[in-house]
């Protein structure tokens, strides 16, 4: 991917020559790629490939050893429009007995916004809208710990959507969810992408990815492949990145971006 192409105004996320070491061990080496507005990008790679670390670097939770990240054209350190980014982590570590309703969890996505004690009417509408989007409007008063795994992930997606983000970062959002729930989740993501939200998703599941995304990056410390999912098998990148033969059932379809 050429530098000039990465710097246009449609670039929402730009990793430029990122390297990262953990306890002296390099986990990411010279990774560069950009995400354009409207992209539905999948990141695949084996365990420990540095996929989640990339998200952490983008969100400022980890500092790269070298290289830089730009969010919506601004250096990560200078970026302040965090409501433009929605993030769903791989596993939300919370106590299932935590006294929070689904509505309150979704409303956490507005914690950046000022306001004393209660939400404004406009904020309440935004929360209801986000819960409607993820199909949980009828579960709003339920405690979060009472939801199924799939519903919980949708609630966290609702939290990420409530501030109406332009970019969604999803770290293995379907882990531990049954196939039926996974399918519902995928339909929802496709709808959100068609509505104009740029999505970057990390997953282990190559088949799942190929049905969903219009661009895929294969990562294991460094980028082995960046392109359309249908081209990944013939590129020979998968066995190189995974260190063994990997068979990917890819699905050739076009997305709106």
């Amino acid at each position: 991917m050429k530098k000039a192409a990465r710097q246009d105004s449609r670039t929402v996320l730009d990793f430029d020559n990122i390297s990262f070491s953990y306890a002296g061990e390099p986990t990411i080496e010279n990774v560069s790629f950009a995400v354009q507005k409207g992209d539905f990008l999948g990141i695949i790679g084996p365990n420990g490939a540095g996929k989640s670390t990339l998200f952490k670097i983008a969100l400022g939770l980890e500092k790269p050893t070298s290289g830089s990240v730009k969010l919506f054209g601004k250096k990560q350190a200078d970026f302040s429009d965090w409501h433009r980014i929605g993030f769903v982590p791989q596993k939300v570590q919370f106590d299932p007995n935590f006294p929070a309703s689904v509505f309150e969890v979704a409303a956490m996505g507005l914690a950046q916004k000022p306001g004393l004690l209660m939400l404004s009417d406009e904020q309440k509408c935004a929360v209801k809208e986000a819960l409607h989007e993820v199909g949980l409007e009828n579960q709003a008063d339920k405690r979060i710990g009472e939801l199924s795994g799939g519903q919980m992930q949708r609630a966290f997606l609702g939290r990420a959507l409530v501030a109406k983000p332009d970019l969604l970062l999803l770290d293995e959002p379907t882990t531990g969810i049954d196939s039926q729930q996974q399918e519902k989740f995928c339909c929802l993501l496709e709808r959100l992408n068609k509505a104009g939200i740029t999505i970057v998703i990390i997953s282990h599941d190559l088949t799942f990815m190929s049905y969903l995304v219009n661009k895929v990056i294969c990562l294991n410390r460094r980028v082995f492949f960046c392109g359309h999912p249908k081209d990944i098998s013939k590129s020979g990148a998968l066995p190189k990145a995974y260190g063994h033969a990997v068979h990917a059932i890819t699905h050739d379809h076009e997305h709106g971006a």
């Binding site: 980014i85 570590q93 007995n97 006294p99």
Partner: protein
Amino acid sequence: MLELFSYTFIQNAFFAGTIVAVICAVLGLFIVLRKLSFMTDGIAHASLAGIAAAIALKADVLLVTGTVAFLAALGINRIREKMKISGDAAIGLLLPVGLATGIVLLSLAHVTSVDLMSYLFGSILAITSSDLQFIVIFGAIVLVAVAVLRKQMFYIAFDEDSAKASGLPVSAINYVFFGLVGITVVLALRVAGIMLVSALMIIPPLSALQLKKDFTTTLVLSAAFGILSVWVGIIASYYLGVATGAAIALSSFALFLAASAAKRLKL
């Protein structure tokens, strides 16, 4: 029973006790949810160093103890953040240091055990007008700060990592939170004492949590349980002639048992 309220010291006790009960229960809920319950005891014990220093130097006890408790609370957060030590271990580190410093200072100042009793077990009935002023001012500061930061503190208590990822200044909010806990513990010392402070900060939120409601309702219930504990404790201590701090602690526990029973009976 109305004759009880004709005494100024009882009026002061009810007024101060109600304010302290509310701030303790509200902040206490965040403490319990963040699994830092040991923290109130840690700060209370560490504040003995402040009490000892104030007695030894003949300085204002609330002011010196407040400063020490505030610094101890911030110290716990700093150790937790910078040294990557868990919250309970950081508390365990500071607790004996504060307690030991207090004992050494008291030994050097030849303080009698009588001076200490009110700080160990509280003396809500001895609250003076200036104590009350102090409690009202700092209680209002704590409540306003919680009102401003409620959404953010709720998010951090639920899932600190996601709160950081959403761009919230989690570290700064944590320092404010721990500082508020330090102030609150000192205000609670006058009511319940070092040994019983958790009766106001931990038991009411635990009682509210038994009822399995959403966060806002739990917060209100927590404050209600705290107020009820103080009121029942003061009235019981007056009529039974027992120590007020202990009566408050026991009434708080009785309410916890009642809430647990209500949960079992699905009331």
